[in-house]
């Protein structure tokens, strides 16, 4: 029977299947961070259990770490305790950890690929919903809860029921100024935040294969915002080249064996998908969110929708609620919306190509007077690379703040956050109420669009700034 890539990875990891289809899957790679793991380690200790495969586990502190000067440690007592707890747990259970002052430290979904820990055809989990990012390598990667983190630590397996197959095909080419962030925002706008619930998404089509490895990560990253736990892309030569030589990538004869296995990872031509959606590259334009759900997107030329035009009662209520929270009026051109802050970073858009994209726009220009703008590189290595290329200087010269790596204002768990009613153009992935700080208003955009907004002081079209 013909199979999808998801079917194949699933089958290759089956340890056991019950009559009702509930399966035990082997986990090849487990990423751990400080927020969703303390209770899992505590659980292990309470029941006298060990970590089954410490070598398949990699830990990093990212959510809580300060992104300003770290020499004095963490100021916030609770954050500090959580980061120290991770350190202690890793030591006790023999898990490799990138500590706060390690230059390899960074956002968990950035360091996995960077180290070559993320590999095609593997099952990768983490107590974090954006684990889907790693699907860009043709792996089955998804977020799990803390009880499941404990389960994986103890057994290196996970109990799962199989999802359905959903293919999203994007053909054609990206227009100038349009990025993979716009592609995924447009997809979420089309399928809705629950459109992928119960499915694993495979992204396919000529536009998807034309994307760089990092651009693919941006797409897979936001799969969860479309409701699907995992999104993946068939791995190709770009992926293999990216991994070759990374510290944790296979070496020597193992590399050859891996390459042989990886090259076969693709959906059969006649494989069946339970659901399919198609998009054309030429229809994709720079996008921006106006509301409090990632599906609330419009093109940068668009206007804020009017709830009165909605037939569906639920939808109408939720638009009204969003507009009230966002402080926006129906019919306003989104380009007329003034912003207070700009955040460039996160596991969606905190990689080197993202920083290059933004720097290209901001070069020799100034951040608008009333705007505070910050760049938070996704990892220590991204930061180092950017500094070698002089990007830090470009950002600083134009008035951006240049920070230490971490999650930062993507979820505002550390000191970086919006004040009530402050409005932010952000390259992160969630515009939920309160996500970037209580009462804060988030507009999700691509790095280039964030840079354009920083210059104009209001949401703006990046295409205006193309040199």
């Amino acid at each position: 029977m013909s199979k999808t890539l998801y079917d194949k990875i699933w089958d290759d990891h089956l340890v056991h299947t019950q009559d009702d289809g509930t399966s035990l899957l082997y986990v090849d790679r487990h990423l751990v961070h400080e927020v969703t793991s303390p209770q899992a380690f505590e659980g292990l200790r309470n029941s006298n259990r060990k970590v089954r495969q410490p070598n398949l586990t990699l830990a990093v502190a990212d959510h809580n770490v300060p992104t300003s000067d770290r020499s004095k440690g963490i100021y916030d007592e609770e954050s500090k305790l959580q980061v120290e707890t991770l350190e202690k747990n890793c030591e006790e259970f023999g898990i490799k950890l990138f500590g706060m002052n390690d230059k390899r430290q960074g956002i968990v979904h950035i360091i996995g690929p960077e180290q070559g820990f993320t590999q095609p055809g593997s099952i990768i989990v983490c107590g974090d919903s954006h684990t889907a990012t790693h699907g860009a390598f043709g792996s089955l990667a998804f977020g799990i809860g803390t009880s499941e983190v404990e389960h994986v630590l103890a057994t290196q397996t996970l109990v799962q029921k199989k999802s359905k197959n959903f293919r999203i095909k994007v053909d054609g080419k990206l227009s100038i100024g349009v990025t993979s962030k716009d592609v995924i925002l447009q997809i979420i706008g089309k399928i809705g935040t629950a459109g992928g619930t119960g499915y694993v998404i495979e992204y396919a089509g000529s536009l998807i294969s034309s994307l760089s490895v990092e651009q693919r990560m941006t797409i897979c990253n936001m799969t969860i915002e479309g409701g699907a736990r995992a999104g993946l892309i068939e791995p190709d030569q770009k992926i293999f080249d990216y991994l070759n030589g990374r510290p944790m990538a296979p070496k020597k004869e193992n590399w050859d064996k891996a390459l042989d296995y990886w090259s076969k990872l693709k959906s059969d031509n006649d494989a069946d998908f339970d659901k399919e959606v198609t998009l054309e590259g030429k229809d994709i334009v720079p996008m921006v969110t106006w509301g409090t759900s990632p599906q609330d997107v419009i093109s940068i030329d668009g206007r804020i929708p009017n709830p009165e035009n909605e037939a569906d009662e639920d939808r109408k209520n939720s638009i009204e609620r969003s507009l009230k929270y966002m402080g926006l009026k129906p019919g306003t051109a989104i380009k007329d919306v003034k912003i207070d802050k700009v955040f460039i970073g996160s596991c969606t858009n905190g990689r080197i190509e993202d920083l290059r994209d933004a720097a290209k726009i901001i070069k020799n220009k100034k951040v608008a007077q009333h705007v505070y703008a910050m760049v938070v590189p996704g990892s220590g290595l991204v930061k180092q690379q950017a500094e070698q290329e002089g990007l830090d200087k470009v950002f600083k010269d134009s008035g951006f703040d240049w920070r230490e790596p971490g999650c930062s204002m993507c979820l505002a768990m550390n000191a970086d956050k919006l004040k009530p009613e402050e409005r932010c153009a952000s390259t992160s992935n969630r515009n939920f109420e309160g996500r970037q700080g209580r009462g804060g208003r988030t507009h999700l955009v691509s790095p280039g669009m964030a840079a354009a907004a920083a210059i104009s002081g209001s949401l703006d079209d990046v295409r205006k700034f193309q040199n």
Partner: protein
């Protein structure tokens, strides 16, 4: 895990769709290293004003709903972040059953790991139940028989057989999986010859 018993309670209805886990428990409470104590911060930004005082007309702040064990909510409940702090907060508040027309996958799974029953009902039934909830009368959720009783009415619901068994018997997932240890070991043996690079990084 606590065994799931039949619940009798006045349900609280929250008529909002896409309630995300950031709304259920905001990030400032994720700094804890414990599973307990989150109940007082459940739905924090809807329950408390900027000064931290209770907002009186929020449903879970009003009697009798402040003692509800059952929460009825709009579709796509629990979307967003995977934080298990969301079910922990619900549980700590006293809610052991959620009723909605759909859930985000990770949240749905997380409920079962914590002895919370997430029931899926068609929109029409949700309407019926939420209407009924205005009477402030108790309803009964019986998992064994997969039915909800309210007044003289009954609604049946579907649930995965295995998940039901785990809830009713309060089974420990990890212990169950560890019983398969020989199979895991056998899988690992095969893995080291089939995909040797997995172990040799």
């Amino acid at each position: 895990m606590q065994k799931f018993k039949t619940i009798k309670s006045i349900p609280a209805y929250l008529p909002i769709v896409n309630i995300d886990t950031d709304m259920i428990i905001p990030k400032q409470f994720l700094k804890t290293i414990k599973r307990t104590g989150l109940g007082k911060n459940l739905f924090y930004e809807m329950r408390y004003n900027e000064k931290g005082t209770l907002i009186n007309d929020f449903i879970l702040n009003t009697s009798p709903f402040n003692n509800s064990k059952i929460l009825i909510a709009g579709k796509n409940f629990g979307c967003g972040s995977s934080r298990e702090h969301a079910p922990w907060a619900l549980l700590d508040f006293g809610i052991t059953c959620v009723i909605s027309s759909s859930y985000a996958d990770i949240f749905y799974n997380n409920c079962f790991k914590n002895g919370i029953l997430p029931i899926v009902l068609p929109e029409a039934k949700i309407k019926e139940l939420s209407e009924y909830s205005k009477r402030k009368e108790e309803i009964i959720v019986n998992l064994e028989e997969q039915k909800i009783t309210f007044g003289n009415n009954e609604i049946e619901f579907e649930i995965d057989r295995f998940k039901k068994k785990c809830l009713i018997e309060g089974l420990d997932d990890i212990a169950l999986s560890l019983e398969k240890n020989p199979k895991i070991t056998e899988f690992e043996k095969k893995l080291s010859s089939k995909r040797p690079w997995i172990f040799n990084d």
